[in-house]
Structure formats: C-alpha cells, structure tokens
C-alpha cells in the first residue's frame, strides 16, 4: 500500500549540515575540556581548539568535496573507479569495522557514564543493552529517517548546551583566564592533536564519504558541511571556555567529565528543577545516540554496498550482537577511555589517509 514516495531515500544539503554535529558531538565533548586543560595553561586551549578546528574543517571540506564529485555513487563505486575494486572493498571493510567499533565504544561509554551519574545498582550490561536496542530500532528504519531524526534532535542538543552555558555565567571567575599564552609549543601541538581527534568525532566525519551519495545534487554540500563543522567548533569552544572560567584550569584537568560537572554546578534558583545535571546528561544521551546510529548505519551501508542482495535487516541483526559483545570487552572505565583513544586514532588515521590518497589519485587522473 505504500510504495509511494514523496520524499524518497534522498536527503538534502541541510541534512548534512545537521548530520555533522549530530555525529561528531558525543562522548568526546564531555571530556575534551579536561584533555585540553591538562596540556595547556589557563584558557590557552582556545588557540589549540581554533587551530584544530581549522584542520578539521579542512578535512571535512576535502571529504565532502571529493565525495560530491561523484554524485549518487557509493564509496565503493567511486573508489573502485579511482583505484581498483579489491582496494575499494578493503577500504570499505576498514570503514565497516570502524563503524562497528564506534558504536561499541559509544554504547559502552553511555553505559559507563550513566552508571556513574544516574544509576547505582543497575548493571552496566542492562543499560548498554537498552541503548543498543533503541539504536537498532532506529537503524532498522529507513536511512533518510535517520537524517530526519537528527534534525529533530539537533535543536535539543544545542538548546541544552546553551542552557548550561548561560546559567553557568553566574559562576564565572574572570581570574581563571589568566595567564594568557604561557603554554609552550609542545603543549599546543598536543592540545591541537587532541582537539582534532575530538572535533572530527574520532574520525567519524569519514562516514561522509558514504553519505554524500544520498544527496541528489551535492553542489552546495561542501559549504554546508563546513558550516556544520563550524557549529561543532562553536559548541566546543563555548563549553571549554565555560569549564575553564568556572573551574579554573587545574580543577578542569582533574575532573573526569568537566562538561557534566559544569551542568552539576549550575543551579537554577526558583525553578521546578533547580539542578539539572541528570537532565543534561539524559539529553546528552540523545547526542550520543545520534552518533551511534550514524556509525551503525554507516557500517550497514558499507555492508550493503559489498553485498547488495542481502536484506538490510539481516545486517542489522547480525551486527548488533557483535557490537554488544565488543562493548562488553573493557573491564573498567579507564579501559573504556583507552579504547576510545585507540579507536579515535584508528578512525582519524583511516579517514585522513583515505581522503588524501583519493584526492591525489583524483587529481593525477584528471
């Protein structure tokens, strides 16, 4: 009764604009202020964020520009066109594996953090399983619906970030911004590295190589993608600045999740909820959810391009137990952190190398 498609599986330019913050803003945003504060002095991390942000924007632009040169062609298609089929298959497999890793990490991270802040006795496995089931539900829907979902959730995430920022103005201590520019070069390099990893969403922007193919006419898409990336940098800048000015550099570098701690500090006098750390965290769950969904869907998309004849749901139901298994591997929260760093390095390296190689070949062949 319903093979009637007003809006089909194609997506719009502005969906990419929203998709970028949706996939990049996740767990990493919760502790980026700590990572920056631990290697820089006072508010100097801003510089690193800006440099790192510019690099990330450049990477994003390169990815989107490249992919938009091959409109409505899947990653597999144009990579085999540029290089050859076996290598294209191999690269797709790398990305699939990366997607699986990211989902597992996010699922485990949300379980760990909610265990820290929301629950006491509820087993981590149950929290993770619930979250994963909801992710599976989203992925088993249509692909363009995921982008619509992002559009629904994006304002909520921006709103809660703004809310925390505005309410914590009351706790700002101006002295915390001093001293200015005292960090040594090594610190900046380290901080820039960290901010690139975090801002690129552990390299998740690489999935744009897959998704641009859904846009019918991706002419303006690179611009929109850059805009979307800038919004991520904006949010991170805001949160980082607030953390440093409220807690000071030393305390920030000693807090497990400075961003959540910021929400914990905020008190909303006279409201029905005068503290809303739980609310903040729960809303952040949405951000982590969109990230996981896109990573999962990208993995499924990669598999679909390799085996076009298999039903999508089969991939989903095949992948979810694997993801659940992977997510239960780390023994404790430090291991989750280590896993995050590994995945981030892997993802970013993969994304950047693939993009640069493809660009070089593209230019040479032209």
């Amino acid at each position: 009764m319903k093979n009637f498609n007003y809006s089909d599986e194609n997506i719009y330019d502005r969906d990419i604009l929203i998709a970028i913050p949706s996939m990049v803003i996740a767990v990493a945003t919760l502790f980026l202020p700590r990572e920056l504060a631990s290697v820089t002095i006072a508010l100097d991390g801003i510089l690193a964020l800006l440099i790192g942000g510019s690099i990330t924007i450049l990477i994003t632009w390169m990815i989107v520009k490249l992919a938009s040169r091959f409109p409505q062609q899947s990653f597999l298609t144009y990579t085999s066109l540029l290089i050859n089929k076996p290598i294209a298959v191999l690269l797709t497999c790398f990305f699939i594996w990366y997607g699986i890793l990211v989902v597992s990490y996010e699922v485990r991270a949300i379980a760990t953090i909610s265990h820290l802040y929301l629950f006491d006795k509820t087993p981590i496995e149950v929290i993770a399983l619930n979250f994963l089931l909801v992710v599976v539900y989203a992925v088993s829907g249509s692909r363009s619906a995921i982008f619509r979902l992002n559009a629904l959730f994006f304002p909520i995430i921006i709103l809660i970030a703004m809310f925390v920022t505005i309410l914590s103005f009351r706790f700002v201590v101006i002295d915390n911004i001093y001293p200015i520019l005292q960090t040594d070069v090594k610190g900046y390099i380290e901080a820039t590295k960290k901010s690139v990893i975090s801002l690129s969403g552990y390299g998740q922007i690489g999935f744009l190589l897959f998704y641009i193919s859904l846009i019918r006419n991706p002419v303006k898409t690179p611009g929109k993608a850059v805009f979307g990336m800038s919004s991520v940098i904006g949010i991170n800048l805001l949160i980082y600045t607030m953390c440093i000015t409220v807690f000071g550099n030393l305390a920030t570098s000693n807090l497990m999740f400075p961003t959540i701690e910021l929400a914990r500090t905020v008190e909303f006098p006279g409201g029905f909820f005068n503290r809303f750390e739980s609310l903040f965290f729960v809303v952040w769950t949405i951000a982590i959810f969109t990230t996981s969904v896109i990573a999962f869907d990208a993995a499924v998309m990669g598999l679909q391009s390799l085996l076009p004849k298999v039903n999508k749901l089969k991939f989903v139901f095949f992948l979810s137990p694997c993801i659940y298994f992977l997510s239960s591997l780390p023994k404790h929260s430090p291991e989750v952190g280590d896993a995050g760093r590994l995945i981030g390095t892997y993802g970013l390296t993969l994304t950047v190398t693939v993009t640069i190689i493809l660009w070089i070949i593209y230019i040479v062949r032209k």
Partner: protein, 393 residues
C-alpha cells in the same frame, strides 16, 4: 519498518528488561536526606591515626511542617543527628547507615562544618574532603565552614525561625553580605585551592547562645602546609576585604578632626601590581578604590562642601586598616590571605612558577614582600541633612 515477525521478539526483549528492572528504584520517603554534616576529631584520636567523628544531620520530612495533612507535626523534630567515629568518612557513613532506618542520600547536602581542631591537623583536611569532590553523590556547590570548638554542637542548636539547624547555617553562610565576613566557600573552589596549593580563607562560625550562631571573621588556611593557621577576627576580616576589594557593605568609623563620622561602604575595588620581580623581597602595590556614603556625622560642619576633605580622611583610614591587615598576615599568620598567589599566577606566570614553592611557606617570600598601599576614596553622597543639630555656623 521492522519486520513484523520480529516484533514479538523485540517486545519480549524489552519486557524482559522491564520486568527485571527497577534496580535503583527508591521511594522518596524511604530516603534519608542529609542536609548538613559536621566533622570533628574523635575523642580518643592519636597522632598516628587521626580518628574522625562525623555527624550527619538527616531530615525527618514529616517534622518539617511542610505537609498540611500531617497533624501534630509541629512537635516532632525535623531532623535527627547521627554520629559515629572512624578513620575514613566513607566508612563512617557506612556505619551511620546502619543506624538510619532509611537509605542515606546526600545529593541535597548543603553545608559541611569542620571543627577548628580538624582543620589544624596538618594535611588532614584535603584528604578528608576528597570524598566530597570524588563521590558521585556530591556537588561542587556544598558550602564549607570552620567552627570554633565542636562542629557537631552547631548542629544541635535550636534556631528560632528554622526547624533545621543546618538550614539555618546554610542561609547564614549564603546570605551574609556583611563586611566582616567572607563570602561562602564552596567545596569545588576549595578543591581548586588544594590543587594549586594556594592559601585561602574559610568562613568561621561560633555559637553565641543555644539559639544563635554567628558568622564572623574567617579561618586562614595555608595551602602548602595543608592546615589551618589561625583565625582573623571580624574587624580584621573587613580590612582584608578592603584590600581584596571584596567589601560590598559595612561601615567605616573615621575620626574627622575631633569628632567622628561613620561612612557606609558602597563598594570597593582593588588590584595588585608587582613592581619588581625580586625573588627575595618583591615590591607589590595595592590600589584600593572605595566608594562610600556618609551615614552619621558628629561634626558640626556642613559636609557638603568639604567632601574632598572627608575623602582624604576616609583614604587615610582605609590605608591604615589595609596596612594593619597586611602586616598581620605577613608577620603573625605568615600566610597569603589576599589571594595574591592567584594574581601572580595569572599575570606573572614565569615569575610565579619560580617562587610558588616558597611563597607563603618555606622561605616565605610573602612575609618579606614590601607592600605599598594606595587608596582612592569617593564619597557618593552625604545624606539627606546638611548640618547636624546644634552646629554653629
């Protein structure tokens, strides 16, 4: 769309989780809300193993008189104090929960009162307070105060307008805008001081009578030594607040000629300047801006035309107070009570890195520094009357 035959499968998955859920379900009336907390030394502590006595003030909701349906709730106490001794706060809390009929819940904890004795133990306080920044139930907004004598006895007083002593203390700390007190210190801020090993001040409370507590003066805590050094009285705290520009209210009694006049402080502002970076005895300049208004005048002259003269007197007075305060900090307490460390860290970072270990401990550069106080006073207005009664002109 999910494949239809999978729906029962998914549904049973969800049901399974729902049915086995509710691990953290805890009714609100089954929780015991800790509102205030007092930390004392245990009676039989030795120097090697400092035993601590902790007192939890737990709210009894039906006694708070907030529920209209409860009859006779007025006579019931609104709180109960549970105290036990031990070596670590977590352990003590565990023991206390054995006494409480309900689950202890400390996310509504508002104040921590620490007895002077505990604070004076070297390096004990930072260790004790670790739980309050590490624990997931804790918030960085919890206020901290030092009490003269027993901390737990503060939780036993019977305030007149509040049913819960800790609530009274909480408001006392929060709403004080008097010049002789310092603003409330929160546990988060304290952690920052501990981490940077700077010295800081804690509000100081003492019992006046069985119904009242006074928040007056402050306790001085030396960051490097990790212990409380001494106390500063209310009058001296006001001088200190003038130096740091934190005085927002309060009075200045100034001798003008033979008679005295009282000025109300409307606002102060101050900044430090490091004049030379001598590592043995640096020169520091303090600029204090004072805004005041004339409240009481025993002089017979009309102050209206002589405000600049009055300003001179006020400046003189403020300078004297500031210098007294600095001298006390340098020579008696040997501790930086003005947060100059933060200034140096922020504005003279390399210099600070080289001296921070010897700032107010060890070599104690702070006490050897030369301070130069500059005051600029402005009198905003001189009141509604021109001449005082009985003046002759």
């Amino acid at each position: 769309m999910i494949k239809r035959k999978n729906i029962p499968l998914l549904l049973s998955c969800f049901l399974l989780i729902f049915l086995t859920g509710c691990w953290d379900y805890e009714e609100i009336e089954e929780r015991a809300f800790i509102y205030g907390l007092a930390i004392d030394m245990a009676e039989n502590h030795s120097s090697t193993l400092p035993a601590i006595k902790m007192t939890d003030q737990v709210i009894v909701p039906s006694g708070t008189g907030t529920s209209p349906s409860q009859t006779g709730g007025g006579n019931q106490p609104a709180y109960r104090n549970l105290s036990i001794s031990g070596t670590s706060l977590v352990e003590i809390n565990d023991d206390i929960s054995k006494m409480a009929s309900r689950t202890l819940f400390s996310k509504h904890l508002q104040v921590i009162i620490i007895s002077e004795e505990v604070a004076r133990q070297p390096k004990l306080l930072p260790k004790l307070l670790d739980i309050f920044t590490r624990g997931q139930q804790m918030r960085r907004g919890i206020k901290v105060a030092i009490s003269q004598g027993d901390a737990s006895s503060l939780l036993d007083i019977k305030p007149e307008h509040s049913k819960v002593p800790a609530e009274y203390i909480n408001f006392l700390l929060e709403n004080q805008k008097h010049a002789e007190t310092i603003k409330a210190l929160r546990i988060g801020k304290m952690q920052e001081y501990f981490l940077s090993e700077l010295s800081f001040n804690i509000p100081f409370l003492y019992i006046i009578n069985e119904k009242n507590i006074e928040n007056d003066g402050m306790a001085v805590f030396n960051g490097r030594q990790g212990k409380m050094i001494g106390t500063v009285t209310g009058e001296e705290a006001k001088s200190r607040n003038l130096v740091t520009g934190e005085a927002r209210s309060g009075n200045l009694v100034v001798d003008i000629g033979d008679e005295q006049a009282t000025f109300e402080i409307k606002g102060t502002d101050s900044n430090f300047r490091l004049i030379n970076k001598n590592k043995a005895n640096p020169d520091l300049e303090v600029n204090i801006e004072v805004e005041a208004s004339l409240n009481e005048n025993f002089n017979t002259t009309n102050p209206k035309n002589k405000l600049s003269k009055y300003e001179k007197f006020v400046e003189e007075k403020v300078r004297t107070l500031a210098e007294e305060s600095i001298s006390k900090a340098q020579h008696e307490l040997k501790t930086d009570i003005f947060d100059i460390g933060t200034y140096l860290h922020g504005h003279h970072y390399p210099y600070w890195q080289s001296i921070k270990a010897d700032w107010d401990s060890g070599e104690n550069i702070f006490s050897k520094s030369n301070f130069k106080v500059k005051v600029n006073a402005t009198i905003k207005h001189s009141g509604n009357t021109l001449r005082s009664k009985g003046s002759s002109q």
